[in-house]
């Protein structure tokens, strides 16, 4: 009998490819537009990546807005633990991230370094969650009979145009200080290297981070930044690309609702690029006055 056994026929197992999707409101939808693009590295396609539309952006902003108040009302200790949890999940998936960074064009050594730095950066900001307030808030010695203090509060919803060249470390370095204080985020991933962001969504999803606090879109910045800048329910935009034209467009259209615009473009491999001033950049300072009753003194504080 020359007949081959069944096992011999299927000796090469066919791998199961992942369908790359967006991350909006704690769910993994495909783009509503049905559009895809296929970035290539050295002639090899990375796969079919969602080309997010204006509608996807708006859906993501709605999800971010809905999640923001709840996230901000978590205790600082809880936010700290959740950021730490993200780092734990990332550590456990290191190999997958290294492999993806490799397929996106990094050599193994650099890919490993990028993953390690990303994990460490999350730990760094996890630690800041319950500390930055003590660094930046104040009790103000007013010259009247009032108790007066200033604290930081999150701005609200922040749109991030994440680094094109640092697809994991850049994205995490931009997002972590924003969510540390209780903001929510809609982030547009690197267009040419989107895999890290898509897999990061899976990490976030298993890290006790409430759905909608971080929303990740893939696609083309040129298509989306103007809509984001004009959107009236965004509080701030962080721009981490070397594109003066897009930055100017964002700055101009952000005047529609007096959005805060932060240009990043930092060297994220430099540890000094991570600091609590980046948390402050996405916070508002609130000052509260309250009279102090002066019993038996002349005059009241009212």
């Amino acid at each position: 009998m020359a007949k081959k056994s069944k096992n011999e026929t299927n000796s090469v197992r066919v791998p199961v490819n992942k369908t790359y999707k967006l991350y909006i409101g704690g769910a993994f939808p495909r783009t509503e537009s049905g559009r895809f693009y296929s970035p290539e590295v050295d002639g090899v396609s990375l796969g079919s990546i969602c080309l997010s539309s204006r509608k996807d952006l708006r859906n993501a902003i709605v999800a971010a807005r809905s999640a923001q108040a709840g996230w901000a009302s978590r205790t600082a200790y809880n936010r700290s633990q959740i950021l730490y949890r993200i780092a734990e999940m990332l550590e456990g998936r290191s190999e997958q991230f290294v492999a993806e960074l490799k397929s996106q064009g990094l050599n193994v050594a650099r890919a490993k370094k990028e993953v390690a730095s990303s994990i460490d950066r999350l730990i760094y900001y996890a630690g800041w969650c319950d500390k930055y307030q003590q660094i930046f808030s104040s009790v103000n010695p007013v010259a009247s009979s009032h108790f007066n203090f200033s604290v930081l509060e999150p701005m609200g919803v922040v749109f991030v145009v994440a680094s094109e060249d640092s697809p994991l470390l850049g994205l995490i370095s931009a997002i972590a200080p924003i969510i540390a204080s209780g903001n929510s985020v809609v982030a547009l991933a690197s267009e040419s290297k989107p895999l890290s962001a898509i897999t990061l969504a899976e990490v976030l999803h298993t890290s006790d981070l409430p759905g909608g606090v971080v929303n990740l879109l893939t696609g083309n910045a040129g298509e989306l930044v103007e809509h984001a800048a004009k959107h009236l329910d965004l509080n701030a935009i962080a721009f981490d690309r070397d594109n003066a034209e897009q930055l100017e467009l964002i700055a101009r259209e952000s005047a529609a609702n007096v959005k805060r615009v932060r240009k990043l473009c930092l060297d994220w491999t430099d540890v000094e690029s991570a600091n609590p001033y980046l948390i402050h950049d996405y916070c508002e300072v609130k000052t509260t006055w309250h009279p102090i009753e002066k019993i038996s003194a002349s005059g009241s504080g009212y």
């Binding site: 007096v258 001033y277 509260t288 006055w289 009212y302």
Partner: protein, 488 residues
């Protein structure tokens, strides 16, 4: 509600004898040149305009209308002063100049107060007790920061930005000049500032004080004129920092025009603050706070408590008491020490306010105004109140910048928070309740930069001021006010 008992109502039939502040000690020139590079200089064009007393409609002095050429010279002087002198001077020495300015302002406080009331129409009680002392205190506070900046920003060595272009409004002329100039100087920047066209005089008196303090030439330059002059400053390519206080509309224009530049920007814009009164508040104190919140400075206040949110259960009682209190307010001569509400700053602003009053009436809200006498000449608006205001009414949504209060009701804490935050603005808010935990809940839920609990319209140099959302960004005052003028 029970009927008004006689002793519950203010006796308003008294006529107080006039108690005008003397103007004898006021030294004003017939006209003022621009203050550039340490000296008063005529403009290139020679154009001038009148600064009018809004209480008499008489011209107090003529002020110079600067143009692009003058702005260029001023910015050049500021650049030179920054690069060669001011940014290189040790902080301790810079600080001593700023202390001098504060001391001279204190010495000349009476004259400055009278001019402020003559030029802008605000009651002398306010310019004397609030505007001028606070302006001097602001310089005194920031003077001390000049040699301590490294302590304000842990792990950083901050440096000055360069030339600051500043544009300020007419509601607190000298105080706004102090808010802008003092932190800029303490941090080693030099300044080109434009006062509002209707209220330039105290800024020009401040220029005389700079001369008396021997402030190095070019450190502060004051160019007067209308909106085009402000535009020329903020759009100048050699300005590194722009600071603007004024309307949200103009703030948006500035934000747009700076797009693509490297200039840093802070904006302090409009507001439509909710002043929230709960049924457990001490009502008489709340009434005083409401009056101070909206009728202070004729309501020309970006953080004015212009929306009163009253818990439904006390609405009738509170509105009755508020109307009685309004009946006792004295509208008239800003220089009279009895005056509660002075002159509206300009005829243009009076037109705006009157058009909003008409809009409110047309929208169906109930209007109330006491029938107090007002002078024949000048621009006046009696304290005004609208009840039954709907959330969608324009008088409840838009900044009027006058003595006009819009009253709405709420039933629950959640409804109060929702209504208070339902505005594109986010500058300030007020909360009145006797319950401490409710205060902290409310103050932390307000999307606003300043929240007054059981008080309103209090200001201090150590207290950061500035808005959320469309009320602008950046803070003025306190440690937080430093970062607007530093590369950190």
């Amino acid at each position: 509600m029970s009927a008004v008992s006689p002793n519950e109502k203010f006796e308003t039939s008294w006529d107080l004898a006039p108690a005008p502040e003397s103007t004898d000690h006021v030294n004003l020139e017939s006209h003022y040149d621009l203050f550039i590079d340490g000296e008063f200089r005529p403009s290139k064009s020679g154009n001038r305009f009148a600064s009018v007393n809004p209480a008499t409609e008489e011209t107090i002095a003529e002020v110079t209308e600067a143009d692009q050429a003058d702005v260029n010279v001023a910015i050049k002087a500021a650049r030179k002063a920054h690069d060669n002198v001011w940014s290189k001077m040790p902080g301790a020495e810079r600080g001593k100049y700023i202390y001098r300015i504060a001391r001279l302002m204190q010495e000349q406080a009476r004259e400055l107060a009278v001019i402020e009331s003559m030029d802008g129409g605000k009651p002398i009680r306010e310019s004397r007790d609030i505007d001028i002392p606070l302006a001097a205190a602001h310089f005194f506070y920031y003077a001390g920061w000049a040699d301590k900046l490294n302590y304000a920003f842990p792990n950083r060595r901050p440096t000055s930005l360069g030339v600051a272009g500043q544009v300020i409004p007419w509601n607190f002329p000298l105080l706004m000049a102090a808010w802008k100039i003092a932190p800029a100087l303490a941090t080693g920047n030099t300044v080109v500032i434009k006062p509002a066209e209707t209220t330039s005089l105290t800024a020009l008196k401040l220029a005389e004080i700079f001369q008396q303090a021997e402030l190095p030439p070019g450190v502060v330059n004051i160019v007067t004129g209308h909106g085009e002059v402000g535009a020329a400053i903020v759009n100048h390519s050699d300005v590194n920092k722009v600071a603007f206080t004024g309307s949200t509309d103009v703030g948006k224009i500035i934000q747009k025009s700076l797009a693509g530049s490297e200039k840093s920007l802070t904006l302090e814009l409009g507001g439509k603050a909710a002043n929230i009164v709960f049924e457990d508040a001490t009502i008489d104190q709340a009434v005083e706070g409401i009056v101070n919140g909206i009728y202070f400075n004729q309501g020309h206040v970006c953080c004015a408590g212009s929306r009163l949110l009253v818990q439904e259960s006390i609405h009738d009682e509170l509105v009755r008491k508020l109307k009685h209190r309004m009946d006792s307010l004295i509208v008239g001569d800003p220089l009279d020490k009895n005056t509660d509400i002075g002159a509206i700053n300009s005829s243009e602003q009076l037109n705006t306010i009157e058009s909003y009053i008409q809009i409110g009436k047309d929208e169906g809200a109930q209007f109330y105004q006491p029938s107090c006498p007002v002078p024949e000449k000048g621009f006046w608006c009696r304290p005004s109140l609208f009840t039954d205001v709907a959330q969608s009414n324009r008088i409840g949504q838009e900044e009027i910048f006058g003595p006009v209060l819009a009253v709405q009701t709420f039933r629950t804490v959640a409804e109060a928070i929702q209504k208070a935050n339902n505005t594109p603005y986010g500058l300030s808010a007020g909360v009145w309740t006797d319950k401490g935990s409710k205060i902290f809940n409310l103050t932390s839920q307000m999307r606003a930069g300043i929240v007054w609990a059981n008080t309103y319209n209090k200001f201090d140099p150590t207290s950061p001021f500035g808005g959320y959302k469309e009320s602008g960004f950046g803070r003025e005052g306190g440690l937080h006010g430093l970062s607007a003028y530093l590369k950190v």
